[in-house]
Amino acid sequence: MTYTLDIPFQMIDPDGASTGAELPNLTDAELRELFVHMQRVRTVDARMLKLQRAGRVGFVGSTVGQEASMIGTAAPLRVTDWLWSGLREGGAALMRGLPLGEYIAQMYCNAHDTAKGRQMCNHFQHKGSNYPSWSSVIGTQIPHGVGAAFAAKKQGKDEVHTIYFGDGATSSNGFHSGMTFAAVWKAPAVFVCIHNGWAISVPSAAQTAVARWTDKGIAYGVPAAEVDGNDVLACYNAMQVALERARAGEGPTLLIVKTYRMMGHSSSDDPTVYRTAAEVDPWTKRDPLTRFAKFLESRGILAEGEAAGIERELTEETDSEIHKQEAAPGMPLRSLVEDVYSEVPRHLMSQYNSFIETAERHGEAQKGDGAFPL
């Protein structure tokens, strides 16, 4: 058995020209859609950063530069497949059906947020497209995805579990256990390592001593491939191969998706402290959107100037959703004690009641905050 899958690293070069590799079987309309999805990710991201600077949302984990890696890999999934995310896959959820309003509500942590404002910003979920809620604890989702893949196999469900995580997360216990278990169980899983060069301020070279990241798969018995994460079609193709392997019962695949985090780790991080412009600049020339737009233009799929029009439309769409979410209410106080268990247990009712008693005494309880009848 070989552990390095023969998958083209690149299909479109940074100038938007085909490298000659056989392209995935997509119609012109589907190719254009991929571009729109990537542009939406970028547009929403820019808007969120603006809101963060204006103090409207607390935290943004930017994905600028990583649009192709998430859209390209997530596009070939079926609706029934699952996407186990890390911090930065919210854009893939949008493509797979997460309503933009819900995305923005999560950023506002308001009452329209399906997680009821409980998670900090940038922690999305979407049950409708099998995108589970992520904890902030790096690597924990990896064995979850493997267990769910095992369960799918046991129950004869035709699902693949795609598990996303960063280069930093490959050092976590979750990665080690997840890879080990998935390989032993031949679980229908795909490990998608979004290798963006950095884990906050720690460069990827400080996470591992292996020179080729695909080597990480060998020790576990998980076949691996590396793809250009700024080339949406190479990502699409690689994921298709990995999904087919999983569906055919051949077990898990590890994809190393090489891209670059153009911004700081988050809105709270200043990357100039630990990396130079000389490192960042070359990546600007590899921009995944510019590259794909050039490719589409050269094939007449996108007219000249059309990309700008798409961006304008997406900005309007985003702004109109932002306006709605600005007006949404916060979570009621009772949500403090709800969802801890299937029912609010008695001790939490009484903790809540004494809290309300204090609030009322100080004239701060709102209508509807009322105590539980005990």
């Binding site: 935290f59 998670q119 801890v340």
Partner: protein, 324 residues
Amino acid sequence: MAIQTLLGAVNDALRTAMRRDESVLMFGEDVGLKGGVFLATGGLQKEFGKERCFDTPLSEDGIIGAAIGMAMNGMRPVAEIQFQDFIFPAFDQIVSEAAKLRYRSGGQYTAPMVIRTPYGGGIRGGLYHSQSGEAYFCHTPGLKVVIPSTPYDAKGLLLASIADPDPVLFMEPKALYRSVKGEVPEDYYTVDLSTTRTVLEGDDVTVFCYGAMVPVVEKAAAMAAEKGISVLVIDLRTLLPLDEDGVVEAAKRTGRVVTVTEAPRFCGYAGEISAIVAERAMEYMEAPVLRVTGFDTPFPNTLEHHYLPDARRVIDAIEKVYSF
């Protein structure tokens, strides 16, 4: 003496320790060039080089496990866990290994090391950037658990922790990092572990607290003073091993006791204080021994200001025991 923030005092302590003792190392995630996500280790790599202040791969289990080995072999490691919420991947190394090494080896092997970690709410970090997990660790014989609330104590307690022959979990109240300022001596000094600090003298009610709850209790005590209630405020500052005699004595002085923590209530640290008071000072008590704590829920996000005990909740408890 310079005026410093609590964060500055932590940085000062690390610098002071590293200058004094070559064997002190500082490592963790993003502690090097970036200087830590809160900047507690700012400038250390510049002064001491990558050999002594360095970033590790992203594995808390690795960070703590390796720190134990270093400590067993002649170094004085200070390991940072970026948020206390991310300490749990290392729970086994702390609880089963660091804390039990001396005991299981009959004192032949020890792990003199410090784990520094910011804990607690107040930064809108939601349930994974806000927890106060001290109770898990205080249930761990062999470990010491220290929480400062002033810049002076932060430096002195951290230096004492680094010098201590046993493993110390040093929990830093991130809500106070920049909000409290105070005088900090420039030189090396230590504050003895397992001693309490009297924050405020008083005769009517005793309030025990630590970390980020100290300023909250001080505010409540000021409100109480306006109502003619004099509150004795005690900062526990070392939770394990606790200065039990100090606690009992402070409880006896007023006969009315409240303990304030931001951690959940059930099986929490406040319960331990209540138990000690019940066992050793029951006959002095004039009122039930009360707790003001976080809810028994995960830490919320948008509603965190309701979850965290505030001066109103503390003054309510003070008045309750006072008027009992």
